[in-house]
């Protein structure tokens, strides 16, 4: 008798405590947020939703890679200022501290009617709200001859990881006195000052290891971000090494041949000993597959919340979006993610939704301790995210200020890395 009474007691206790769990804490009943893409936009959104909802929202992050190498500061790795490890981050803090379920798979489809995401292994994940932050996809053949296979010889290195390491090995190993050719991307593209910071970092390597080397930049554009600052910096630090040729001079990129290293333009054929080809870009593939893009290849959004204009249960962040005046940058994606997280929490748990504020700053390194920056703040106007003011470094600033700007960028990297991936 006593035994069965004990069993009875235990059973009662279990039943009671199970009933005592508030409805919203039971996993099966919690609202579900699924985030596609574990970069500056997606990981930040996942972290803020998990952190600020204090367990009331079930957050799943879908990201194929075990660790994420940031595109921002990857030029500093090429220049020898950072290690590869220092720009690579895993998801352990998001899983451990914030209780986010991280699924290392590629998302292959979205069923917006059923509200599920399909994964590469055929399984599916249900959502109440979906956040899509897949970065960019590269438009192969935007320069004829430049294919995915070709990028194994002439890297694009515009999605960080093995491509970045490959490019660094090409720069470090280029023959003495050789010619390095960069084909810069057409607008719109990820990280407007990025190609030109990269030129600076490659020039920094050549100045030390290969001082007779030349760098030719074939640009499909007529002007670029922080142009005056970069060109003054190249003149100061790397005189005679860098030649930038805009479309009006070269007349257009006709073909890229990885076998011969030749890049043909209307003007001339440029023979490269190593090359970096950065093709035209569009939203990450899943955004198009899910029907979130328009004819620009990017995703229109509602400025105050980052909600997709194609579906009220879907939000889009970062490089994949048409974000009005905001550039495509890690900082922008991180900024947008916080606005989105606030909106999504408000929708799902009724938490207070505050007005959207956005900002961005892009720091670039031209040479050792020679940092420059450009930034702006933004607000959500009904038609688009609109700049409300900004600043840019000036040519002729003194060395102390440039050093302080570089040190500020190092601090920013440490801050944003913790803000994205958790501290």
């Amino acid at each position: 008798m006593s035994i069965s009474r004990r069993h009875f007691m235990v059973g009662t206790a279990l039943t009671t405590s199970a009933l005592a769990i508030p409805t919203f804490l039971r996993a099966a009943d919690k609202p579900k947020v699924v985030v596609i893409g574990g970069g500056a936009g997606g990981a930040t959104a996942a972290r803020y939703i998990a952190k600020d909802s204090k367990g009331a929202i079930d957050v799943t992050l879908i990201e194929p890679q075990q660790a994420f190498t940031t595109c921002f500061f990857s030029n500093l790795y090429i220049g020898g200022f950072r290690t590869f490890e220092s720009i690579t981050h895993d998801y352990r803090t998001l899983e451990g501290t914030h209780g986010i379920k991280v699924v290392h798979q590629m998302a292959t489809g979205v069923d917006k009617a059923a509200k599920t995401v399909t994964l590469a292994d055929g399984s599916s994940v249900p959502y109440d709200k979906l956040i899509v932050s897949p970065g960019i996809s590269l438009k192969w053949d935007s320069f004829p001859g430049y294919t995915k296979d070709a990028s194994e010889v002439m890297p694009h290195a515009w999605q960080a990881g093995p491509q970045t390491q490959l490019l660094k090995s090409k720069v470090d190993g280029m023959k003495e006195g050789g010619t390095f050719v960069m084909v810069a991307p057409p607008n719109p593209y990820r990280c407007p000052p990025g190609p030109y910071e990269r030129v600076s970092m490659i020039a920094h390597v050549f100045k030390q290891k290969n001082p007779k080397a030349k760098i030719i930049v074939l640009d499909p554009k007529e002007k670029f971000s922080k142009q005056g600052l970069f060109q003054a910096g190249w003149e100061q630090h790397y005189p005679g090494m860098v030649e930038w040729i805009p479309a009006s001079i070269h007349g257009g990129i006709k073909s890229v041949d990885v076998a011969t290293g030749e890049i043909k333009t209307d003007l001339d054929t440029f023979k490269s000993d190593a090359a970096n080809i950065i093709p035209a870009q569009a939203a990450g593939e899943i955004a198009a597959t899910a029907g979130l893009t328009n004819d620009t290849g990017f995703c229109p959004i509602v400025p105050g919340s980052m909600q997709s204009q194609a579906d009220p249960n879907v939000y889009v962040l970062g490089d994949s979006t048409i974000a009005g005046d905001m550039p495509k940058s890690g900082y922008s994606a991180n900024s947008q993610a916080k606005v989105c997280a606030n909106a999504v929490r408000g929708e799902l748990t009724g938490s207070k939704v505050f007005p959207a504020k956005f900002s961005n700053t892009c720091w670039s390194l031209i040479a050792t301790n020679d940092g420059v920056k450009v930034g702006a703040s933004y607000e959500a106007k009904p038609d688009k995210i609109t700049s409300t003011g900004g600043f840019v470094s000036k040519t002729g600033e003194d060395a102390a200020l440039r050093k302080a700007t570089f040190e500020e960028s190092v601090g920013w990297y440490a801050g944003i890395a913790n803000d994205i991936f958790g501290a």
Partner: protein, 256 residues
């Protein structure tokens, strides 16, 4: 007489630099002047230079007769003090541990710490980049030493206080706004893109645990462009008075 007038002038400048309240005792002023005559000319110049270097510290530290702990501990009697030992002051765990391990502040340890704070104590939350110039450090230490009871040949110099707070351009009603920390928490996400949420300084100053008034004054100084970092000017320009108050309330609370 000429000499003493010069001394008086030097110390007047110091007083002006520190923005002392109008009612500050002139007795202390004249005592200071007299005592300072005993100093060698060289040392006086050094201390004067030290007062300028100390400006970099005043966002967080107070020194002098009425000095209290602010973001960092007060710095009276710093020479000979065990690191992390002032009751009621906020210290990083790293600083407290350094003190427990026997770190005492003297000219040598201060010199090393101030030269490169995070090299000396890796996880210090002191938001100073480091004073690179050795002569500046020497001057700073001479200045700090002037506030130690044990230094008989150095006069007690008036309190260095209220530097960042001494902005008369901020009306009392703005300082009196009571911020909403919940709104501040939301707004803070913009700050945390660069500033470490732990409060540590890694190239960008830590801002966790600042007293509300200091935070408000500093943000308004960026907003009115009296402080010159363009990123901060941009951030502050986006914020209304209530929002600055909300952030101040949140960051102070976060430090407790």
């Amino acid at each position: 007489m000429i000499c003493s007038r010069r001394n008086a002038l030097i110390f007047s400048c110091v007083l002006i630099a520190f923005g002392l309240p109008a009612g500050f005792s002139t007795d202390a002023h004249s005592q200071t002047t007299q005592a300072s005559e005993a100093l060698s000319e060289q040392h006086k110049l050094l201390v004067t230079r030290g007062t300028e270097v100390f400006q970099r510290c005043t966002a967080c530290h107070r020194i002098g007769p009425d000095a209290e702990n602010r973001i960092g501990p007060h710095l009276n009697n710093l020479i000979g003090r065990t690191a992390g030992s002032i009751a009621g002051a906020r210290y990083s765990d790293a600083m407290k541990k350094a003190g427990q391990d026997g770190l005492k502040w003297d000219a040598n340890t201060l010199d090393a710490f101030v030269a490169d704070p995070t090299s000396f104590i890796e996880d210090t939350t002191m938001g100073l980049d480091g004073v690179e110039d050795a002569e500046d450090r020497k001057a700073l230490i001479a200045y700090l030493s002037a506030f130690a009871t044990g230094s008989s040949n150095i006069p007690e110099t008036p309190a260095a206080r209220g530097l960042p707070s001494a902005d008369p351009g901020i009306p009392a009603e703005i300082l009196a706004i009571k911020g909403d920390p919940e709104y501040g928490e939301y707004l803070s996400s913009e700050c945390l893109t660069c500033h470490q949420s732990s409060g540590s300084n890694r190239g960008i100053p830590g801002i966790v645990g600042w007293p509300v008034e200091d935070f408000v004054v500093v943000m308004h100084a960026y907003k009115s462009r009296k402080r010159d970092n363009p990123v901060m000017q941009m951030m502050a320009s986006q914020l209304g008075n209530d929002e600055i108050a909300a952030l101040a309330a949140y960051f102070q609370q976060k430090g407790q």
